[in-house]
Amino acid sequence: MQPKYTPPELLVRLKSVPPIDQIGTHERILKIQSRSLKGPAKLHGLRLALSMIDLTTLEGKDTPSKVRQLCYKAQHLHGLSPELPTVAAVCVYPTMVGVAKKALANSSIKVAAVSTAFPSGQAPFEVKKLDTLYALEHGADEIDMVISRGHFLAGEYNYVFDEIAAIKALCGSARLKVIFETGELDSLDQVRRISDLAIAAGADFIKTSTGKIQPAATFPVVLTMLGAIKDHFDKTGQMIGMKPAGGISSAKIALQHLLLVKEVLGEAWLTNEWYRFGASSLANDLLMQYQKQLTGKYQSTAYFSID
């Protein structure tokens, strides 16, 4: 059985989270989206976004070779631009952590493992615990756990809280990212509620989605989560990281996310210590846009590596 952590007053507080103004949220996003980065600011933004990527492969068909190749790409984004940063982390299933760890031994790139019966989270707590311990034993620097959406939607907030707190207790120095799968949570109020809950339970990062379900990291969801991080910071002075994941496939969208985080949370979050993109195809689009800025010519996927 999982241990009990939930403070009773939290359950009371969660019942009355601040309601989210949906119309206001959309209007604020439209304002951000109407802005356009140009020239040096765009180049800076593209480099920054590249350094924030958790380069991800989460497929049933993943093999050690595929993971090694991904790790190579994580370290060498583009042969013609050695000035580029590396990505922040490589994100894989627990079984691939050992391979990734070895492949990245000579770099500062972190290895993140998805955990707790990713992506569904439908497993007994004991299994989730073993899943997490396995990843940690093989050297995972970061754990991306999924919440039990079924329990959350059924209103069993104490169950979800205890689960997050228990996994956090296992993590030790590894950073814990908590995945909400917002595409299954129906309303922005729910997103705000789970954000508050996860932060209270000890999440180091809050993350939108598994990438397996649409919609994923939509702007309204991300803005709502950033709002929860901001309120927590204003109250306690503690920073919480943010990781939108799923559906961020173009440089344009990534840059808009950076504008959003800068507006809501400020400069302090504009580093890969506090902000990450979970993505697989985003890196290539950022690289293509980077080359476009340098050469003035629109690029072709034919000249960029597939994986």
Binding site: T295, K297, Y298, Q299, Y303
Partner: protein, 290 residues
């Protein structure tokens, strides 16, 4: 007051306005305003190339017979809208007989190229003699996305004569239409939209060649250029911009009304030849064969 129609762009099977929000006036020969057209920009080129790339593989994968049917269908749709094309040409200052002749030739050309769809491959392929036990053969394959500057002297026939051989061969195209007389090109887009040609195979932009060609010529995802007669320095600049991905640049200066200016080589100008070496197994003591 007369309301002038604003002709829009044709990108990915849709009719968007230009991303730049600009437009310009189309005038008849006598200087009278007859319509507005979109003044396309770099970003329209970007969007059009993206649409063309997305559509190309699926278009090339259709059977030759099906591509033939679809191009024949263009001719049929052109036939039903003949009146409108003639009217627009007359509005631009063509005499009625000249307009009728140009539209009729355009329909004929569609049918002509529709016929080539399942023949050009056979006629431009070969089995090559080699001195090793290999079956060695060469076949044409489409180059991919082709950038086109349409004939700036004719409104319809040049445009049609340039793009048909490209799409018959399985390419997709991004066309910069005749700047002064873009009406027929945009009306032709309306024909395409109703004739089974998948969206994105033909993309049509209106505006200034000098503004859009450098972007098109430099675009790394465009595989070749088909250019009608343009000013020398524009052609030179396009050739230079095309160097980075080694685009083939074809410059055509032809009178397309003349039926001599149609033919197989207009198709093969935008094909790459792929040669395959297939080993021939020696079975028992028999002589190798295939």
């Amino acid at each position: 007051m007369e309301i002038l129609k604003t002709y829009k762009l044709y990108i990915g099977g849709q009719f968007p306005r230009t991303e730049s929000g600009r437009s310009y006036q189309i005038q008849s020969e006598s200087g009278q305003a007859i319509a507005n057209a979109c003044l396309g920009s770099k970003k329209d080129i970007r969007n059009a190339v993206q649409a063309a790339r997305k559509a190309q593989a699926g278009w090339a994968a259709k059977s030759a017979f099906n591509r033939s049917q679809i191009i024949y269908r263009i001719a049929e749709m052109l036939e039903t809208r003949k009146g409108q094309f003639i009217e627009e040409l007359v509005l631009l200052g063509h005499s009625n007989p000249a307009a009728v002749a140009e539209v009729q030739s355009s329909i004929d050309r569609c049918i002509y190229y529709a016929g080539w769809a399942d023949k050009y491959q056979a006629l431009s392929s070969s089995v090559n003699p080699v001195s090793s036990p290999h079956f060695n053969f060469s076949v044409p394959e489409p180059m991919g996305v082709i950038g086109v500057v349409a004939c700036q002297e004719t409104a319809l026939i040049g445009f049609i004569s340039q793009i048909l051989p490209l799409i018959v061969g399985g390419n997709s195209v991004v066309v910069i239409a005749n700047t002064k007389q873009p009406l027929s090109a945009v009306t032709f887009a309306e024909v395409l939209a109703s004739s089974d040609v998948p969206g994105g195979v033909v993309n049509i932009l209106t505006g200034k060649v000098a503004e859009m060609l450098p972007t098109l010529a430099g675009h790394m995802d465009v595989n070749a250029l088909s250019l009608a007669k343009i000013e020398d320095h524009l052609f030179r600049n396009a050739q230079e911009a095309a160097i980075d991905n080694l685009k083939r640049c074809q410059l055509y200066s032809l009178n397309y009304i003349n039926p001599k200016n149609q033919g197989l080589h207009f198709i093969t100008d935008f094909q790459e030849i792929k040669t395959t070496w297939h080993p021939i197994e020696q079975v028992a003591s028999g002589i190798g064969g295939y």
